[in-house]
């Protein structure tokens, strides 16, 4: 690992310099695709960026004490964690940099979700608290499947290191794991049919209800970065190993784009489920597949 490569990965590609414009781009793609599938025009290309700039220019209400400080801190923490998660993705072949593993990536991916839960409770709004409670319940439900999928991939490939995983030829179990991760992504990204924490018609923006101005801009950015990180995780796991750096980067972007489109189709085609139905879906329907995947992975590991 050398420091220059590590910084380049964190700050340039696939880090901040790449991730931030692509966060806005993916947010736009999702909104535009859903709008076109619903027979609407959808937002113009620059809309997510313009929203961000507009929010940065707004004032925020003065909040004193530890509560106010925490409310300002959560979005920044979420943005940092999501940007770090994107920076960890092993997009370029043998590029060096942070030799992070899947566990660190998962931890960083989970931080924005925890920040959202904390932010809702810090805001002392009834809608925020309901949204946070929903996010917490949802997080527990999908994370079991998500973690089991990741562990089954790692166990089947005998490594937790992202660099090694990206270089190994994918196995059948890896694809099963990717499918399980794909099932969890709508809940992770608060998309229909699992858009419970930010159900506008019921609880306004949920945990974001009390946020405005630059803090809300940071939440939007964090959400966009989560998109890049989550779709990028699927892209890096699904992509075959390519030694050409530019081709690997292009494939990463193309696969992430396809995942964004798939999630948009799902979001446009479904309505929001109730919280108990969602939890039942993850615990009853998908958990069994995740358990099967991990038991097969462990069985294969002990046999080999």
């Amino acid at each position: 690992m050398n420091l220059t490569t590590a910084l380049a990965r964190l700050l340039v590609f696939p880090g901040v310099l790449f991730a931030v414009p692509f966060a806005w781009f993916f947010l736009w793609v999702e909104r535009k695709a859903v709008a076109r599938m619903q027979g609407r025009i959808g937002p113009p290309f620059m809309q997510p960026f313009l929203d961000f700039i507009k929010l940065l220019g707004k004032d925020t209400p003065v909040r004193g004490g530890a509560g106010g400080l925490l409310m300002r801190a959560w979005p920044l923490l979420a943005v940092s964690a999501a940007a770090g998660a994107v920076g960890l993705l092993p997009v370029l072949p043998s590029s060096g940099g942070f030799e992070g593993d899947l566990i660190l990536l998962l931890a960083l991916l989970e931080v924005p979700s925890m920040c959202i839960i904390a932010a809702g409770f810090s805001s002392r709004s009834i809608f925020g608290e309901i949204g946070s409670a929903r996010e917490a319940v949802l997080s527990v439900a999908y994370n079991v499947v998500f973690l089991l999928a990741i562990v089954s991939i790692a166990a089947s490939q005998h490594t937790f290191r992202l660099e090694t995983l990206a270089q190994l030829p994918p196995s059948f179990l890896r694809y099963l794991g990717i499918a399980a991760i794909l099932v969890c992504l709508p809940a992770k990204l608060h998309l229909n049919p699992f858009s419970l924490p930010n159900a506008e018609q019921e609880i306004y923006s949920g945990p974001m209800t009390e946020y405005a101005g630059p803090e809300l801009a940071m939440w939007e950015l964090s959400h966009g970065l989560e998109w890049v990180a989550a779709t990028g995780l699927v892209a890096t796991l699904a992509a075959p190993h390519i030694s050409l750096a530019w081709l690997a980067a292009l494939l990463f972007v193309a696969l992430s784009f396809v995942v964004v489109l798939l999630l948009s189709v799902l979001a446009a085609a479904t309505a929001r489920l109730a919280i108990d139905t969602t939890v039942r879906f993850y615990w009853q329907c998908t958990l069994i597949f995740a358990v099967l995947a991990i038991s097969s992975a462990l069985f294969m590991r002990f046999r080999s």
Binding site: R36, M37, Q38, G39, R40, I41, G42, V265, A269
Partner: protein, 144 residues
């Protein structure tokens, strides 16, 4: 799977949003803006009487009357059209146009009263009684 077919059709068919000055198509028997034909109006003011939204105003003057209509107040219920015996009022079957200033669609007509049509009894020569028309009735007709 039906929803996927619908989404695909929407995607191919483009958006249904109508951009600004264009107006949406209306259905058959659409009840739009109230149109007034001063040539047919007898100035009976039944339309104003029937207009619960007070979109129609009627001012009687000497030898003329003023009929005004404010679409901003109109609920397009069509009761004025139903009540108009002379068919001077109708409803436009097109979507109301875009307007930028308040009261732009308001219109007002000042119509000269028509002389009352001669009664058949007056037109014919007096019969056996030989009496002339009642002068009081003539005054009422003029006033009405």
């Amino acid at each position: 799977m039906n929803i996927l077919t619908m989404l695909w059709k929407n995607l191919l068919g483009g958006s249904r949003t109508i951009l600004f000055p264009a107006r949406p198509k209306v259905s058959a028997r659409y009840r739009g803006l109230v149109r007034f034909d001063p040539a047919l109006c007898t100035g009976c003011a039944i339309c104003r009487f029937r207009c619960t939204a007070r979109a129609i105003e009627f001012k009687a003057g000497k030898g003329e009357f003023t009929w005004s209509y404010d679409p901003g107040h109109c609920t397009f219920c069509g009761r004025c059209v139903e009540g108009c015996k002379s068919h001077a009022i109708s409803q436009d079957p097109a979507c109301p146009p875009v307007y930028l200033n308040i009261g732009e669609l308001k219109n007002s007509y000042t119509v000269a009263r028509k002389p009352p049509a001669p009664k058949p009894a007056q037109a014919a020569p007096p019969a056996a009684s030989g009496q002339t028309a009642d002068p009081a009735t003539e005054v009422r007709n003029e006033r009405s």
